[in-house]
């Protein structure tokens, strides 16, 4: 009988320690993953602009899809097609720009303000 209680107590203690460990691990994870959520969109047809880059840099969509860019940087940016077929103009912090892609092909674009920033939309 005594042995069974000892076993139960040990089990409870072990579980408690595990719970604390998991909780601390979760909070640790949250702390480190929070800034990253800024750069990744839940919408598969959305390009997030953050830290002077387009994410994803290459986005593949079906013909007829509307792609939306959203700027998460404090710095203004643009999404400007290399051949000027589309141009978002100024996207300040929080601004969005949408463009429908009907014809299959590869659409290279860049930021007119920071031309080192480049991306492409592949339409299938």
């Amino acid at each position: 009988m005594l042995n069974r209680w000892r076993l139960k107590l040990a089990l409870i203690l072990t579980l408690a320690i595990c719970a604390v460990a998991v909780a601390s691990h979760e909070s640790h994870m949250k702390m480190h993953s929070a800034p990253r959520t800024n750069n990744v969109s839940a919408n598969p047809n959305e390009v997030v602009i953050a830290n002077f880059s387009f994410e994803p840099a290459t986005l593949t969509v079906k013909a007829g899809t509307t792609v939306t860019w959203v700027n998460h940087d404090d710095e203004p940016h643009t999404a400007t097609a290399t051949d000027k077929r589309f141009n978002s103009k100024t996207l300040d912090n929080g601004d969005r720009f949408s463009q429908e892609f009907n014809a299959p092909g590869v659409y290279n674009y860049y930021c007119a303000l920071h031309p080192k920033m480049t991306g492409k939309i592949i339409v299938k």
């Binding site: 710095e75 303000l113 080192k116």
Partner: protein
């Protein structure tokens, strides 16, 4: 709000160009002096500076408090943040308050990226050539204002055919070649443009395509000084007869190349630390064979 604006006083004495920190009531040597200000980014309203009009005004007040009024002032671009009409107007209104004969401008990419410089040229393009480039002479010194922020080309360094650098363009280079043709080689030349005419960071696009062509036109001159903005920090280099120098911003500091994942404002600067942050400058004293010397000192 801490003082964030700054300017550099340039004094010309017998072909020897030197700069000192803009200090209230500083004694000036004989000769003439002019002032370079840069990157006022009117319209920017985020950390670390929510009052960029105020800090530009403070820079103007500092200039006006100088014992020797500057012969003229040069603004090396990014006058505005989003090239909006009201931002240009606010900047022009503040800069009109400078007690000097004239303010010369060259645009930054923030001044031209929405309309290829139309609004900019409407306001500041009078008397300029081509897309807005210009030259003038003052007291034996030849000044050339170049534009390297138009027609920027996409460039990722992955073979797409562009560097992401500033662009001068062949039309402007042809004009410049013609402009310096009749000058004596002993004429001191000062070139001003927004993006540096030397490669500071290929990764961040801090350099200018065709800058070597422009500089080759100036090889025969004994004294060439290149004044740029864009990088929001003082950086300096001497190469042969050419002294390159970048100015601080009147709005916010940017990180040194390689010290941050991306360029852009250094955001986490406490208001009371901004001035000392702007003061953290690589100060060099350089004396070269052709007697060109530049002296900088920190803000604090």
């Amino acid at each position: 709000m801490a003082w964030a604006g700054t300017g550099v006083v340039w004094a010309m004495n017998g072909g020897l160009l030197s700069s000192t920190e803009l200090v209230l009531g500083a004694k000036r040597k004989p000769g003439f002096n002019f002032i370079q200000i840069s990157d006022s980014h009117i319209g920017f309203n985020k950390d670390p500076n929510h009052e960029v009009t105020k800090t530009l005004q403070e820079a103007v007040d500092k200039i006006n408090a100088l014992e020797d009024a500057p012969a003229f002032v040069i603004h090396t671009g990014d006058i505005t943040h989003l090239s909006r009409a009201e931002e240009f107007d606010t900047a022009a209104q503040i800069l009109k308050g400078i007690k000097t004969s004239r303010v010369f401008y060259v645009p930054g990419e923030h001044d031209v990226f929405t309309d290829d410089g139309q609004l900019y040229r409407e306001r500041f393009g009078a008397g300029t050539q081509g897309l807005g480039w210009q030259s003038f002479d003052y007291d034996g010194v030849h000044f050339i204002g170049l534009i390297n922020v138009l027609n920027l080309k996409q460039g990722s360094g992955t073979g797409l055919g562009g560097s992401g650098f500033g662009q001068l363009g062949q039309e402007q280079l042809a004009w410049m070649k013609d402009d310096v043709r009749g000058l004596s080689s002993s004429t001191p030349v000062v070139v001003f443009a927004h993006i540096p005419l030397w490669t500071i960071s290929a990764e961040w696009g801090w350099g200018t395509d065709e800058s070597e062509q422009a500089l080759s036109l100036l090889k025969r001159f004994g004294s060439v000084t290149v004044l740029n903005g864009h990088v929001h920090q003082i950086l300096q280099k001497v190469e042969g007869n050419v002294m390159f120098h970048t100015a601080r911003s009147t709005a916010f500091p940017q990180p040194a190349p390689g010290t941050a994942p991306a360029p852009g404002p250094i955001k986490d600067v406490p208001a009371d630390k901004l001035r000392s942050m702007l003061g953290l400058t690589d100060v060099r004293y350089v004396g070269s064979g052709n007697q060109l010397a530049v002296v900088d000192s920190t803000l604090v």
